[in-house]
């Protein structure tokens, strides 16, 4: 059963709706004690990474989150939170995975936010992407991206440069796209996470 870390950063109705469609049970985490009720966790998030981090700090759950041993998935800004730093608001983040979140450069050819369906190239044999072909399209909407890093990038996408569509370190996973809005492949990824 998935515990969703509830810290007030953005709407989670679409995420919980997707889990319900897929028959994946979930609950909300408000306090440290709530973590015990679940065997895996999702950190959601939309909006401003610095503001989201401030809200997460306010919950008092940060030390517990950093010490989690069970599978944990950050989605969009929730993924950015597990990195060390974001240029958005010049913010220090959870630093669970030592990579940085940077802003896309403005250019005539590549608009920001990066909005729409882009191709994702996961590592072969990744259980999170089981059954999902190379180059499958996922839905992105973001102005900040996580740098590509050989050690931690689990899936890459190209948009003016190669960046991390997904990262991993031990039990911590992140996806920049929105699996709950990414059609059948997104639903497959959520199912894979529930089965890790």
């Amino acid at each position: 059963m998935i515990g969703i870390v509830y810290y007030g950063a953005g709407n989670i109705f679409s995420l919980t709706s997707a889990l319900e469609r897929l028959g994946i049970s979930y609950g909300m985490i408000h306090t440290e004690a709530d973590f015990e009720a679940y065997d895996r966790y999702i950190i959601p998030g939309v909006g401003h990474a610095g503001a989201a981090m401030a809200k997460l700090v306010d919950t008092g759950l940060v030390p517990k989150i950093k010490a989690l041993q069970k599978p944990t998935l950050g989605i969009c800004v929730g993924m950015q939170l597990i990195t060390a730093y974001s240029e958005e608001g010049d913010s220090n983040l959870l630093d669970i995975i030592p990579v940085k979140t940077l802003r896309f450069a403005d250019s005539a050819e590549y608009k920001v936010p990066h909005t729409g369906w882009n191709r994702v190239y996961p590592d072969e044999d990744s259980p999170l992407f089981k059954g999902i072909p190379q180059g499958a399209h996922f839905y992105f909407v973001h102005s900040y991206y996580i740098e590509y890093n050989d050690a931690y990038t689990l899936a890459s996408t190209d948009y003016s440069l190669k960046f991390s569509a997904s990262i991993v370190k031990d039990n911590f996973y992140g996806v920049q796209f929105h699996p709950e809005k990414s059609g059948a492949f997104g639903e497959q990824l959520l199912t894979n996470f529930a089965n890790l």
């Binding site: 909006g47 059954g131 072909p133 399209h137």
Partner: protein, 258 residues
């Protein structure tokens, strides 16, 4: 490479779709959720719901619609129509809308764009612009092209971008309903001038019009209503032709068996 998006637009009144829809396999052609599901299965990349409800119950029906769509549909969607305040937008966000589209309210109160972008992020704010050619100028119109404003379209779109619009939905009223093709020339002018995505709207009549708007204007997305609702263009066929023309699109592929 980022795919060009195909976006069916559904007009909704009192929670029901209006305008004829003649998909053969719909149980209830007036049910926006069923229609949305059908489009998502066909490979639509995104949906726009335009709520034209006029009653004071509008806000409640919009929220109910958004919740029903979010429960059932696994692609992103935008809702527009009569959104005037942060409170309206907040209710729709919490009901599961990915984006809201504002039109007249933004023209009357441009600061609303700034407020919405600050509150919810630019990715949530689509500014819809109805434009019409008038006396050698492109002018912003309100109320579906009936009421001219003082604003020149080019200037207004740049202002909307600078205030925090995350995307522009540009409808050429001179082309809308003609089925003679998008206004590729003006769309290119706008698309080249902004650094946010542009959705082309107005004039789609056949598949070649979509090829033209992507090849000539290089917009990010193309929106249409009747050609999709009446089955004149089927989205899988459209995507196949775009793909054969070398235009990057998302096709609804199958999961690989593990």
């Amino acid at each position: 490479m980022l795919a060009k998006r195909i976006i069916p637009c559904l007009d909704v009144k009192d929670g029901r779709t209006v305008k004829g829809v003649n998909f053969v396999d719909l149980r209830d052609a007036g049910d926006p959720v069923e229609l949305a599901w059908q489009y998502s299965q066909q490979g639509a990349d995104e949906l726009v719901f335009l709520d034209i409800t006029a009653t004071h119950e509008r806000r409640k029906t919009m929220v109910e619609l958004v919740k029903a769509v979010a429960r059932n549909i696994n692609i992103p969607f935008t809702i527009g129509g009569g959104i005037n305040s942060i409170a309206d937008a907040d209710a729709l966000l919490n009901a599961g809308a990915d984006k809201i589209s504002i039109n007249s309210a933004a023209v009357r109160t441009p600061g609303l764009i700034d407020e919405l972008a600050a509150a919810f992020g630019v990715q949530f704010v689509v500014v819809a612009v109805d434009t019409r050619h008038n006396d050698g100028k492109n002018i912003v119109y309100l109320n579906g092209g009936r009421i001219p404003t003082e604003k020149e379209t080019f200037d207004w779109i740049l202002e909307a971008e600078s205030r925090g619009a995350g995307e522009i939905l540009l409808t050429s009223m001179d082309h809308d309903g003609t089925k003679a093709g998008f206004d590729c020339t003006f769309l290119k002018t706008i698309n080249d001038a902004v650094h946010i995505p542009v959705i082309a709207s107005g004039g789609a009549g056949n598949v070649q019009h979509f090829v033209d708007v992507f090849e000539q204007a290089n917009v990010d997305a193309a929106l249409a209503a009747s050609v999709f609702h009446y089955g004149e263009i089927l989205i899988p066929d459209l995507k196949e032709i775009l793909k054969n023309k070398g235009i990057e699109v998302r096709t609804v592929a199958k999961l690989v068996s593990a």
